[in-house]
């Protein structure tokens, strides 16, 4: 699992651990990750360990690959960063970080890992994008753009890996009760828990589904958002 202490990442890791998968947690805060790995290994009686990995660092993906003792069967990428940004507070450094964290870093890492999985001839790569990425919009402009780019990347990766035995799953969560969501009050019927996402991800791995919306209600909403012509959408504040 790439993405350290991400709530969704850990929930998915636990879900797979429940099915007796060995778990590797890759992220930045190693002491915290060690504790999470220990918890997973005790709770589920599986081998679990943590690896230091900073996706933003040059060469980190190669180092990660070298550190893994075996090629994983499933790779989950839950790397992400969101900061509330609005028109008035434009900060070049901040926005660049948002773009790198949500698009550049995950894409480079997954691209490399996909190569390894293709060599092995099997495996699943799961990328956590967001409903936010289904269409470019003003709110959280750079986050939205990066997430949209990540959806396209995963699509491209799927195209590239077709026929190799490696599947690519794109996950589009709407609102999820995580650290990232913070104290924002969201409507209950639109909001999922990290465990809901984990369950949906696991199901998709079993069933072969490629595009996963959590909760499912976001699928028609997303379709509607994309269907609107630009001349209409540009006036909206969503």
């Amino acid at each position: 699992m790439l993405g350290g202490t991400s709530d969704i990442g850990l929930a998915v890791a636990r879900r797979f651990a429940r099915e007796k998968f060995q778990v590797v947690l890759a992220g930045r805060s190693l002491p915290t990750l060690d504790r999470e790995a220990k918890d997973i290994s005790i709770r589920f009686d599986v081998n679990a360990y943590a690896i230091q990995f900073d996706a933003l660092e040059k060469g980190s993906a190669q180092a990660l690959l070298a550190a893994l003792t075996e090629t994983p069967n499933v790779v989950l990428c839950a790397i992400g960063l969101m900061r509330d940004s609005d028109v008035d507070s434009w900060d070049e450094v901040e926005e660049a970080l948002i773009m790198r964290t949500n698009l550049e870093a995950p894409s480079l890492a997954l691209g490399l890992l996909a190569g390894e999985l293709c060599k092995a001839g099997s495996g699943v790569i799961i990328g956590i994008s967001s409903i936010a990425g289904v269409r470019g919009r003003a709110k959280n402009l750079y986050y939205t753009a990066a997430k949209a780019g990540f959806i396209a990347f995963l699509s491209g990766l799927r195209n590239r890996c077709h026929g190799t035995g490696v599947r690519i799953v794109t996950v589009l969560p709407g609102f999820v009760r995580t650290k990232m969501l913070g104290n924002l009050q969201t409507p209950k019927f639109l909001t999922a828990t990290p465990e809901d996402v984990a369950e949906a991800v696991f199901s998709a791995c079993q069933s072969g589904r490629e595009l996963v919306y959590v909760k499912g209600v976001w699928r028609p909403i997303s379709w509607a958002l994309r269907a609107l012509p630009e001349s209409v959408f540009k006036r909206l504040k969503v």
Binding site: K38, D39, I42, R43
Partner: protein, 440 residues
């Protein structure tokens, strides 16, 4: 909106959800009176603060498990249910367990819970090696029987008022299987029940379900349930498929199958329906699973909702050996007179207890629940004075209604507890609605 398991009283207040130690210590910097909260299974307002409540359920990692020696170290928010899940398949079980597995370990420490085996092994605290707490200064301290002993002893049963419990290291009990050999005896009245309690030395666990609605010669009739962990040799005659009873679908095929003592509806005459199931046999022996024996009420998720929106109160008191029989009889009488209609009275025997502030005392304990109605408060007021007169005391984990005066009179230990809290800077920092009400 926060309340206790009895859904009475309810309060609005702020809730913080720490996930890591830094979250918890930084909350302390806000300098607001607060209380830590586990899974909210205490019946009243001991885990509710009018200001800030810390929901510790995300502070729930398993830190270490020595499966050879049965030693576990956990963060305070770990649920007992998770402990059973982890430990039982390695042949370990909680040494002391309350009536539900959906409590946090931190909560078990704060209440210093007892089980159906107190007369033999004592409280959960007796099996704890050390506890880490965040104190009023925001610092983490480790306490045990040999280090910071005062803090350790006041924390066991201290209702979370000595600090935020973050980690607990404790010992588990070795078991050969997840099955319990259970025996149920019909007892014709309170005297008979208590005589039977005194006789059953061999059973590891004992509890009696008391009929609170009968009077006269049948007053306090009960079903006494005895249990012990089944050993492998008890299954010599047939292969044991599910050794630790972890798979609910596999059922043991034995001559005596355990009758299910489940609440299927909120009956006031519950006891009658249970009692007459056994009317053909004076006693019955069977095998039952750990889940059915220890946690029958957990089967009904959110069973507290059966009592309706107005909620219910539970009362649990302890009486010393010398006045137990008289006191319990008096309480049953008062229930009749006030028409408070408690049902499902639970009686357990207590052994000697040397703890500073925990609830048990050598004697007996009875727990009853009552729906919140007009008569309820009359009943509570009267048994309050009855229990105090008989030298007994009340379990704060079940309390939502006791007055500060009644606590002082029934349990003078709390005066020393308050002094300790004040001199250690804990007073005013760690407060629950209950602690404010009771003046501790």
């Amino acid at each position: 909106m926060l309340d206790g398991w009895g859904r009475y009283p309810s309060l609005t207040g702020d809730v913080a959800v720490p996930r890591h130690l830094d979250d918890a210590t930084s909350v302390m910097q806000m300098q607001r009176p607060l209380i830590a909260r586990g899974n909210g299974r205490s019946y009243g307002d001991s885990a509710v603060s009018p200001d800030l409540t810390l929901d510790m359920r995300s502070f729930n990692r398993f830190l270490d498990f020595d499966s050879a020696r049965g030693r576990l170290t956990v963060e305070a928010g770990v649920l007992l249910a998770d402990v059973v899940n982890v430990a039982l398949r390695h042949g370990w079980f909680p040494p002391v367990t309350p009536g539900t597995q959906f409590v946090t370990i931190g909560g078990m420490v704060a209440s210093n819970v007892h089980g159906k085996n107190h007369h033999l092994v004592g409280n959960f605290g007796d099996f704890i090696d050390w506890i880490d707490l965040i104190g009023p200064d925001g610092q983490v301290r480790r306490c045990s029987r040999t280090k910071n002993e005062n803090l350790f002893n006041w924390t066991l049963g201290g209702m979370g008022l000595t600090g935020i419990i973050t980690k607990v290291a404790f010992r588990l009990k070795s078991v050969e299987t997840g099955w319990i050999t259970q025996e149920v005896r019909k007892c014709s009245n309170l005297s008979d029940t208590m005589d039977e309690f005194e006789k059953c030395e061999l059973a590891q666990y004992s509890v009696a379900w008391i009929d609170c609605l009968t009077s006269g010669p049948q007053e306090g009739r009960s079903l006494l349930m005895l249990g012990s962990h089944a050993t492998l040799d008890q299954f010599a005659e047939q292969p044991l498929k599910d050794r630790y009873a972890l798979n609910p679908r596999l059922r043991l095929n034995v001559p005596f199958d355990a009758p299910k003592l489940l609440l299927s509806r909120p009956p006031m005459r519950l006891f009658n329906s249970l009692y007459y199931r056994f009317h053909n046999t004076g006693a019955s022996k069977s095998f039952t699973t750990w889940e059915d024996f220890f946690y029958p009420l957990d089967r009904l998720r959110n069973w507290n909702r059966l009592y309706g929106a107005s909620g219910f109160v539970q009362v649990q008191f302890a009486l010393p050996m010398v006045s137990a029989r008289k006191g319990i009889s008096a309480v049953l009488q008062i229930a009749k007179e006030t028409q408070a209609s408690p049902f499902l009275g639970v009686l357990k025997k207590f052994g000697p207890d040397n703890s500073l502030i925990s609830f048990p005392m050598l004697g007996y304990t009875m727990a009853m629940d009552l729906p919140v109605r007009a008569q309820t408060f009359d009943f509570l007021a009267r048994i309050e004075s009855e229990i105090i007169d008989q030298g007994g005391r009340f379990y704060l984990t079940k309390d939502s209604w006791l007055s500060a005066k009644a606590l002082r009179e029934s349990d003078p230990r709390f005066l020393a507890f308050r002094e300790y809290r004040q001199s250690s800077g804990m007073a005013g920092v760690f407060e629950s609605k209950q602690s404010l009400r009771l003046g501790i």
